[in-house]
Assembly symmetry: C2
Homo-oligomer: 357 residues x 2
DNA sequence: CTGTTAGCGCATTCAC
DNA sequence: GTGAATGCGCTAACAG
């Protein structure tokens, strides 16, 4: 009933294999026959059957993306970008969310393999290395993003969490702040740990003592942000600047600052991690560390596609796998806007130095 | 090399077909053999090859989701919900974004068909009815969401845009407001048109004359929101309430209101369309019309799955197709929060006082 | 360069 | 209930 490759071949008066080769752009086909076959195909409105093609060739033109959820700004940005890039390369994206549950993640990965995905991009728990390494050995491409996995043989694309946090803190210190509050993520999260140590390092570099009473770390939720901001404002810490390093918490922090009538940046300078439209339009516009979600996604796709190409040409060799294992960092970027300024002399704890250049 | 159904059959000492039937839960299999086959399968760690299964049975267990982008709050909420529901039913989601371009949409739909998706959920341009109707005739399930398509035979799930806008306006009017500003979407968008007419109707119902100078309609962008809010505040309209019916614009409107030191709800009552975390945490918390994105997604999946079941049992019959074509509305909900109050008589028309510190 | 042949792994006839 | 046989649509040897 429907038009298959056979129909096209008959119409073009060539064999099945010639038709197949012509349509898949094989080099060993004369220009003439290619034209004839192409014509026949378009006349008939031929569409290839991907399932058949995948069964035979082991290439489904499907890529799996595994991540926690789509609510987080960076996550849906990444999903959006990856999907666009892949489509332009002839791939489709199977999207799967895990809610950060390792068991769900594991089961999802296996299901993706059932569907014969050519590769997987995973923002994972770090606990599925055995499975994804097996994927690699079976000729699937794998890329880890945002979260690393120690035992994974696949390349990993990470955000520059430590450096970004360092830069944020440094920015504030350079403006003359010495009482810099920090609201961040939990220690058990890679990003939470890395950002906190960037904060610590920058303080040390500027000879500013680390003060626990200025630091609050907790879950990636709006509620925590609200709580933490309220708490920090309540304490008499002499805080003149705040670094919000927990993205989800920002949604709780901003309303609280506003509610307390904090004048930004006069009373309090503010830097947030991860840019978003809201922060640009805020009054005043908020200085941020842009973590480069778009670039993370782009690089991931690049690494995935180059793996797929290598698998096609070289196959699965130990040497190739060895070359694969590498960590990439996408640099973050300080976007200075109106929410940061030198501390108001009257409120500053120490005498304001001139910011060094 | 890898373990296939044949391996399982051999291990269980049954034929290929028996193994197949046992694993797919066919009723004409004895309990004993089923147990043996199941055991063999799990011993071997058997995983079915979906491509082969799809090729043979025409069921891929893949569903396509077509939408504009993942940035819009409602869109990624819907994608998230749909994906979860489908996974729990044994389906995987192929996600495709169109940027609202009908040509991209068309090509995407065809590609999804190439992959043999069992069904498609589409937030579309309304211009792909011919294609999706063809899908229906070919035994694929189709559901339109959020945007209707006049010629589509598939069921359509819509948000209650008019009623929601009516309710929002009514809420303000009931509080005593008579100068109610409106920032909405363009007339050419279904939702833009529907919400505007809900606004008009509610005004009429309360005997409030429609005043063009209070109404600004434009594209679904943050920039438009900022512009529109600035403009409305600049005009001397005596506006005491504002209905922000353009979701994307809200991100522009809020900062401008804040920037101008508008006291909400004292000087201005505010209602927004489409709820989100930020609005709950705003100070004051913003009254919204919740459009029920989650419910829209849930209902869409229900309709899709029931179609798939019907196709399996009844096949593609004209009667079934006729029964299919139906529009569903997910009611919206007014969530009254702190941003709406009766107009303050003394300040209603006078110029804003100094912003509080 | 092109045609012939042979399956990929599975679900589903049809017999028994 | 179970097995044997067939082919879904396509790609990839293998010849020529």
């Amino acid at each position: 009933m429907s038009v298959t490759l056979r129909t096209v071949a008959e119409r073009a008066n060539v064999s099945l294999s010639t038709a197949s080769r012509a349509l898949s752009g094989s080099p060993l086909i004369s220009e003439g026959t290619r034209a004839v076959v192409d014509q026949a195909a378009s006349d008939l409105g031929y569409r290839p059957n991907r399932a058949a093609s995948a069964l035979r060739s082991k290439r489904s033109h499907l890529i799996g993306l595994v991540l926690n959820n789509l609510v987080n700004q960076s996550f849906h940005t990444i999903a959006d970008v990856i999907q666009r890039r892949l489509r332009s390369e002839g791939y489709q994206l199977i999207l799967s969310t895990t809610d950060a549950d390792p068991r769900t993640e594991e089961s999802l990965l296996l299901t993706l393999a059932d569907h014969g995905v050519d590769g997987v991009i995973i923002i994972g728990s770090g606990q599925s290395a055995a499975t994804t390494n097996d994927f690699l050995h079976r000729g699937m491409a794998v890329v880890n993003v945002i979260r690393s996995s120690h035992d994974s043989l696949a390349p990993t694309v990470l955000a520059a969490d430590r450096d970004g946090a360092y830069e944020a803190t440094e920015h504030l210190a350079s403006l003359g702040h010495r009482r810099i509050g920090y609201i961040g993520g939990i220690e058990s999260a890679d990003s939470g740990r890395a950002r906190h140590s960037g904060y610590e390092d920058a303080l040390a570099r500027h000879g500013i003592p680390y003060d626990e009473s200025l630091v609050l770390r907790g879950p990636f939720t709006q509620d925590f942000g609200a709580l933490a901001a309220t708490e920090l404002l309540a304490r008499s810490t002499g805080m003149t600047a705040l670094f919000a390093a927990n993205h989800e918490a920002v949604f709780g922090i901003l309303p609280v600052l506003m509610q307390h009538g904090m004048r930004i940046p006069d009373q309090l300078s503010l830097v947030c991690f991860e840019d978003m439209p809201l922060l640009q339009m805020w009054h005043p516009a908020v200085t941020v560390i842009d973590n480069g979600a778009t670039q993370l996604a782009e690089l991931s796709v690049d690494l995935l596609l180059s793996q797929i190409r290598a698998i096609v040409s070289e196959g699965v060799t130990p040497e190739r796998l060895r070359r694969l294992t590498r960590t990439y960092r996408v640099g973050s970027q300080l976007v200075a806007r109106a929410s940061t300024a030198p501390p108001a002399p009257a409120f500053a704890v120490s005498s304001p130095r001139k910011a060094r250049s």
